[in-house]
Symmetry: C2
Subunit: 216 residues, 2 copies
Amino acid sequence: MQRLINVQEDLLAKNRLLASRNSGYFDARSIMALNMMSSPGSGKTTLLERTIKALGEHKPVAVVEGDQQTLNDARRIEAAGAPAVQVNTGNACHLDAEMVLEAVKKLDPPPGTLLFIENVGNLICPSLFELGENYRVVMFSVTEGEDKPLKYPTMFARADLCIISKTDLLPYVTFDLAQAKDHALRINPGIQFVELSALTGEGLDGWIRWLQDRSS
Amino acid sequence: MQRLINVQEDLLAKNRLLASRNSGYFDARSIMALNMMSSPGSGKTTLLERTIKALGEHKPVAVVEGDQQTLNDARRIEAAGAPAVQVNTGNACHLDAEMVLEAVKKLDPPPGTLLFIENVGNLICPSLFELGENYRVVMFSVTEGEDKPLKYPTMFARADLCIISKTDLLPYVTFDLAQAKDHALRINPGIQFVELSALTGEGLDGWIRWLQDRSS
């Protein structure tokens, strides 16, 4: 066990250095980078498709897509009108700073780009690996239950924004929105919230406003 | 990268030995052990609550609960009428064979016990760590999208049974059941399926039958 912990600390320390380099790269190009994290299937890609359509004309957008396998998400993002690079992590359960810089260099984003890094669907491992991002966004859907912030505290403790997604399903599930927020605030008193349905577009304006307030 | 891979192989090899020991322990007590894996919030605990109520009188049932944090699930299982031991994995993203044997020894299950090991909610890491289980069950809900087997192939490639959950939400989501199964079969031609709603109980009989066919 001790050995596992030491190895993990070495890896995290190495990753932190590379994340710091990413941070310099983003700064040099006035890129605002967001690390988008969630469980599998919470609606990250659908939200990015809508975001690209809503913002695309006003601002350059680029996307790094992380998945264990498939090129599906990068294809969806490109069809929505933004350049994307897919990173397949194989047996790795998260994106690390090195993978992200390699992908960003392929994207070669112009100054002022809004860069979304869609992490592998996983509420644990991605929270440990910094990517040099400006903001961390955690998404969880109303179908997942209001206890998720308590069960996956590391993820929620380090997030700037919590997006509660799939609000169109609220009438059909037992999900206490106030309690879910209360749980997240218990872990992270400074966390902010946006509620939305990426499917219907309901609540999307709150998310776009949050982005615009930070990127202008 | 090479170093990371070697370290991971060492850990997996060590875990395989301990899993083999678990397998002997289960055999000695005629325990049938199931490794239950899924994304966070797919309904594993709710399904186990129902399963305990359906089977509890006919067969001893015990549960090992894995979560990054909280004792919530063990409490729910005990309230449903079965003994449970909660393992909090901290920053670890999966249960390993050693954690499971320690928990099982606390449970001290009588011969013939049906042992459910509810793994940490994560579609990647738990698939790499054998626990000495007799069967692997992966659950995914209709809200997560039919592409999950393709995106998380390691998990689906090694599962005996795929439970498609939250079927009560089918009328409200865009989920192609036939396509989801086709994706899983492409990864694992021998995988079996049960469709159910742990909330309403619809389809539960298929799951109970699957268990009874294997435990008798």
